[in-house]
């Protein structure tokens, strides 16, 4: 089986978010971009499938500023991914999921794959629509919010569950298929030192920026422009309810939620 995993470099979870000087974007100064969240889980899922189906190869593909995407690709290589492709992102398209998907589909289409894996959403902007847009460009079916993904070698099908808002579906799908992974392992494997060292020297296939720029030039689109990046107004801290008994606390809270916040 050949698996392609799409991974996006995102700011570390503990990053202190702040707008840049223009106020339109996150200020990237001092921010460490890492493999995290659902994308990290997608890599873990690919490795689990590889362990269950010998002969499987995994290729990770990442789009972004080169230094950032190659950093997450090296993290994936250190975890046991076999091949890596970096796609240098041209300026001005980071907020346009359709152009992002177009570039990813363009690159993925040069590989053979039975499974395309991604997180159900990225850890930063979290738009959750890139996997399905990639699938649309490639003409393959896609399934999001997926857990319990397995390969059934006898039936030649993937089996998985799709956790939707009101129902959980057990689905079987033949390859090729795009899967947006809902499942997150809180403790995915960590890379071993020899693998980290080897990943530093591992080759990464690069798609030059000129190639994707030529692609985008063939499909010009009106811009998706960042207008502002704001932090929510600092919450003033909770209004602490003073009470004489648990029943008193309950009565006061219910009254506030009903009459002031109007959420009950």
């Amino acid at each position: 089986m050949e698996i392609v995993v799409l991974i996006k470099p995102v700011p570390e979870a503990e990053t202190r978010l702040r707008p840049d000087r223009g106020g339109a974007e996150l200020d990237p100064a001092g921010v460490k971009f890492v493999l995290a969240g659902y994308d990290e889980s997608a890599v873990e899922q690919a490795l689990l499938l590889k362990e269950s189906a010998p002969g499987t190869t995994i290729r990770a593909v990442s789009l972004g500023p080169l230094a950032r995407s190659e950093e997450v690709l090296r993290a994936a290589l250190a975890l046991g991914v076999d091949h890596a492709t970096s796609v240098e992102e041209p300026p001005g398209v980071a907020h346009d999921p359709v152009q992002v998907a177009r570039m990813l589909a363009f690159v993925v289409s040069r590989y053979s794959y039975s499974l395309l894996l991604g997180g159900k959403q990225s850890g930063d902007e979290g738009s959750g629509c890139v996997p399905s847009a990639v699938a649309e460009f490639l003409g393959v079916p896609d399934f999001g919010s997926v857990t319990d993904l397995k390969w059934d070698p006898i039936a030649g099908r993937f089996t998985f569950r799709q956790s939707l808002e009101r129902t959980v579906l057990s689905v079987e799908a033949p390859p090729p298929v795009m899967i947006g992974l809902q499942q997150a392992w809180n403790d995915p494997r960590t890379a071993k030192l020899p693998m980290i060292l080897r990943s530093r020297k591992a080759p990464i296939d690069r798609v030059p920026r000129a190639e994707v720029e030529a692609l985008l030039a063939r499909h010009p689109r009106p811009a998706v422009r960042a207008v502002s990046f704001r932090l929510p107004p600092p919450r003033m801290g909770a209004r602490m309810i003073e009470y004489s008994s648990p029943q008193d606390a309950a009565r006061k809270l219910v009254r506030l939620l009903t009459e002031e916040a109007k959420v009950l």
Binding site: P131, G139, R166, S170, N186, R235, A238, M240, Y243
Partner: protein
Amino acid sequence: MESSRGSLVAESLEALPLARSLAGPSGEVLGVAPGPIPEAEAARVPADRIRVIDPAAPPGASTAGAAFSLVEAAQDSNASLVLVVGSARGRELAGRVAARWDAGLATGVTEIRPGTQGWTVVRPVFGGRATQELALEGRKAVVALRPHAFSPGSAPSTPPVIEHRAAPTLPPLATGGGVSAEAPVEAGSGPSLAAASIVVSGGRGLRSAENFHLVEELARSLGAAVGASRAVTDAGWRPASYQVGQTGQSVSPQLYVAVGISGAIQHLTGMMSSRVIVAINSDAQAPIFRVSDYGIAGDLFAILPALTEEIRRVRGGPSAPASR
């Protein structure tokens, strides 16, 4: 619009009044239903027309077919904006429709207004820790709405005109998949997290799995979904599907009640865009109080049963069994 078992889901009714107000008095609103819906329901929809795609795609099909029908509807009506219900499938559908229709795209949107060109939208990012404002500058845009960010409207004075369209026949390669089983979400546990307008989550402060029922009883009294912090799912008190936070579900309900949750970034990334946050914790210094609207510091084993009882009293539900 989205339906579940032949009925429109509540979030569909949030998208339509918004479409009506954005279209203005001279604009037209076309609702697209992904399968037949009852006539009484259709009459409540504030649209000029409803296009019913018949037959409905089987559950478990890829969104390719729905995307095809939606793009066809957008082209037929020369639409400038396609609003999509912001469910899990809705976001997937939005990606396909925008790719196919070559339109601007934003998901998880909480505000939308006409821009100088196209549309300006606001969406929470980083799990609600920040908001992003984007200008979609083209003539065509696809926008998936954040659930509960918009109010459902009232029924129109004139019911919409219903039209029928045949579902497309797509090559199997594009649709894939078949469903072998379908189970309603967590039977008996109330609405699922992502769709719920109230969420009650429990954390380490409950001390053991045996105490978690206190959270569930409070949730039941409120008609809320039950969530948990990572500490709870890691300890196996509840399955991973309950987890709210960075590696779990992102939620944005009207009311979020955090019980015995200290407020680690892992958890805050996932619930910070809730409209009103209530924290109940024994530690008055817990960081969760800094991001909450209302706080009760104290013994949650005494406060939770009292709160459940009070909500049942106010809502006129059955009285609670004697608290332990």
